[in-house]
Symmetry: C2
Subunit: 328 residues, 2 copies
């Protein structure tokens, strides 16, 4: 057993994951390596965007967790593809949000301008699809194409609702489901299907991923309100600044007491982050948001109940629990 | 026979192409039609970007021109895919160029902002790949993924060379080959391969497309210098304004006479479109550019010499010749 963040995890699994993730990184880097040094250099900057590699890890664990699951090269390729799609969305998101910081470093758009960031994002999307097409399983391209359509729909609906202080909970959930949860769900689904799982099992894993994904986005919303830039590693208060209503704000605006609704609206209109945080904290909206995330994590873990007990199943549960503890 | 622009063309072929292109448009529109009215409305605006549908037409003609070539649904799908990729590049190009006009209408970025244009472009790329994955020929996705990688490389190299008044002819040609010629060449190649052509024949058609594509870009460069906005239908002088050196400028800067080089440089530095046009006209650089385009068109047509004589071969030659006459 190995200790990670004070939790015991299976040493053999940790080692296997570590090796597989190294493999994923090589596939990722090799795909982007070309004959033009300035492009290679620009792509090299993407490494700085690399975080905990949640999505590749989910592809791999989902490949292992199913009955008789073994990892093959196709899992590593699929994992590199989902990571590349994720990186592309980060690069373009930073353009949309005019963000200057990401993972403690400066964003591509702030360093090289919006034009370069738009084209680099396109290059990543294109390479993701190209890499995906090298797989001998053509259904992966079809499923991932559908997921990236959904992802873009989420981003578009979010854009249509910028500065919409009447955004309701249902639309917020649609945005999060499409923008964040779909790719995380697909990572789990693809990993299991590549290990030959049944459609039923793939469905359980997909739901595990989607619910975890929504929980992840909610904690992200909370951190954008309550986090400190040095800890979070990226600009905070961006949602408020860009007129994106997040769950704590929506709950504040729909609060039982009129005085809370009014105070929330005033702070949002004034783009007053400190004031808004105080109002939402006082009203319980932030705690309520965390409660919703917590419930989603429980539901996510319940989706795994039918799978054989294994270190990979434990680790999936640990990752889901970790969403609630994240500080960045 | 039917007369198009004073040239006799086979009536049956014109009718067949017309029907197939209608099919391509339905596939294109159906792919983008979803459950969110604002997204549908935004995608509807893309229709205004639709021009002569050169790339889909090339897919179809290349499918017909080869020995025993017949058009199937796969040709229409592939044609819709290349058109969707092309539209995505137009939408993102307009963001990069801060262009306000396209085909006599206002651009997406000028109407809905850069953010919406970035996301709409992403949505189009994603849908193009998704649509492509529905084909029963998985090699199409692999080939097109490689082409879009190349296309993005061309855009990136062009961005790296903004305001580079030392841009040489070789780098200019690399940019044009990658950014413009690759997708036009691929359209021809895919069309013929989907009709079961040999790799040799597919290569001839690809070269036909690539050479025509370079010629097309050169005439575009010339029109951006010499055209009038009302006729061209989009903003002119954008290349100069955005610091993109085009062929006539490169020829002016490399002119045998120092006085021409100096005058060209001064006008470029001053962003003086009228003055630059006069210098390049006087020096013969514009005529020389048109001469290079003309030579490329001849070479392109020569690539088709080994194909059976047919109305579709004639029409391919006619399209190539048409590049030299374009006014928009």
């Amino acid at each position: 057993m190995t200790l990670i963040d004070g939790i015991e995890v299976d040493t053999a699994l940790v080692e296997q994951l570590g090796l597989s993730l190294e493999d994923v990184v090589s596939i990722f880097d090799r795909q982007l390596q070309g004959e033009h040094p300035p492009i290679n250099e620009l792509c090299g900057r993407i490494e700085e965007y690399r975080g905990k590699m949640l999505r590749p890890t989910l592809v791999l664990l989902s490949g292992l967790v199913v009955e008789g699951g073994r990892l093959g090269n196709e899992h590593s390729v699929a994992a590199a593809v989902v990571e590349m799609i994720h990186m592309a969305t980060l690069v373009h998101d930073d353009v949309l949000d005019e963000a200057e910081m990401r993972r403690r470093g400066r964003t591509i758009n702030s360093l090289h301008g919006n034009e370069m960031a738009v084209m680099l994002g396109d290059y990543l999307i294109s390479n993701a699809f190209h890499l995906c097409s090298t797989l001998e399983q053509p259904w992966v391209s079809l499923e991932l194409g559908s997921v990236t359509n959904t992802l873009c729909e989420g981003e578009l609906i979010q854009l249509f609702n910028r500065n919409n202080t009447c955004l309701d909970l249902a639309t917020y959930m649609t945005i999060v489901e499409k923008k964040t949860a779909s790719l995380i769900g697909a990572s789990c689904r693809l990993g299991s299907k590549l290990s030959g799982s049944s459609e039923d099992v793939a469905g359980c894993l997909e739901r595990f991923g989607r619910k975890s994904g929504v929980a992840f986005q909610i904690t992200d919303d909370v951190l954008d309100l309550t986090g400190e830039q040095e800890v979070v590693g990226k600009s905070v208060g961006r949602d408020l600044e860009k007129g994106k209503l997040t769950l704590p704000m929506i709950l504040g605006l729909g609060h039982a007491e009129d005085v809370v609704q009014e105070a929330t609206r005033v702070k949002i209109d004034a783009r007053d982050l400190v004031g808004l945080r105080a109002v939402l904290d006082e009203s319980g909206s932030i705690e309520q948001s965390i409660g919703i995330a917590s419930k989603l994590v429980s539901e996510a873990k319940a989706e795994l109940a039918g799978l054989p007990e294994s270190p990979s199943r434990e680790m999936l549960c640990m990752l889901a629990d970790g969403i609630l503890d994240r500080k960045f």
